[in-house]
């Protein structure tokens, strides 16, 4: 079974190769170190599974995956991640990745690859619990039709998080009065009455 390993950090890539080949059932015919290499190596080797870091210079894992899946929709791509990059989970999911697992999780990686080959999708420990939350802050609302600028958008988001004017002022380095003025203008533009209606508007339009 061929597994292509791609990671920015050569040490990680080599370690993974060692771990995977230790079981005797997997072969790692090449190591890549960027998204660009991933695409090229995938084409030439046609591995059963692609195990790839999600963050890389030159071309991110996500971009590479998009490219590869465009040409090979059946590709089995498993992302490697650290604890820190939650925000990519949803993108990876929508892209059609077969999983999202933690680099730290050495013993867990080989079984994960097996499971993917068996047609499953795999997510590292805590990740699944986060998916519902991450999906909530999904799509961007299109404010363009309402003549709402960036700063106003930012204020809308903070109102929709339940912050009061003083807190919003602190976060944006404005005075409380200015925030009040902004909100006044926003309410006028959206034909709403108060900040609660603004929060409601925010959640209903997404």
């Amino acid at each position: 079974m061929k597994v292509l390993v791609v990671d920015d950090d050569n040490l990680v890539a080599v370690s993974l190769k060692t771990i995977l080949e230790a079981g005797g059932r997997m072969e790692v015919p090449a190591l890549g170190h960027s998204g660009r290499e991933a695409v090229a190596l995938y084409e030439s080797l046609r591995p059963d599974v692609l195990l790839m870091d999600i963050r890389m210079a030159e071309m991110s894992g996500l971009e590479a995956a998009e490219e590869i899946l465009k040409r090979h929709p059946e590709a089995k791509i498993l992302f490697l991640t650290t604890f820190s990059d939650d925000e990519y989970i949803v993108k990876a999911l929508n892209l059609g990745a077969k999983g999202y697992i933690l680099k730290q999780d050495f013993e867990g990686i080989a079984p994960a690859i097996d499971a993917v080959l068996g047609g499953q999708s795999v997510f590292g420990g805590e990740i699944v619990g986060k998916i519902p939350v991450l999906l909530q802050n999904k799509e961007e609302f299109d404010y363009s039709q309402y003549d709402i600028n960036e700063k106003e958008q930012k204020i809308i988001e903070l109102v929709a998080e339940g912050f009061c004017n003083r807190e919003i002022a602190e976060q944006l380095f404005l005075s409380e009065g200015t925030v009040r003025n902004y909100i006044s203008v926003i309410l006028e533009k959206l034909a709403l009455r108060d900040r609660t209606q603004l929060a409601v508007f925010y959640y209903k339009n997404r």
Copy 2:
């Protein structure tokens, strides 16, 4: 490695036992046929993984899982499902199940169990793609844990529609002062600060 198998349908349970033990690495010390049995067998056998049908008479897999996870939060529970019962996915997910896989997927089940033992969460083929959609179908929020009664729920809904106290009072045939008191109590119970946070809470929890 001990795997407890629980399925309504004895044929399925026996088949699973055969498949899992074929590899030589897994042992299936018992077969259960209901949620109730699952709970009892889990207690007596303490398996490494519990593989359980989600729909069963007597006590559903979900209820059994809830019970087991209450006592053993580290329990590794994997649900078996057919194509038809999508609606349970989200519940299983929130409950803390380690996966949700398809019965049909014979070859995939053993690797899935391995992956779960390796600390991963596993989802059968198409299931992951459905999660975003399923999460959108706003389920009823469970207020029971917060000691929120029906009238209070109604008021929460009206606040979340953006109505002011006077409007809420009119709709519920209460005085404005009473509505204020209600909201005051609700905010206290939910540990929120103001009506906007209440509206935010409402939309974030569904």
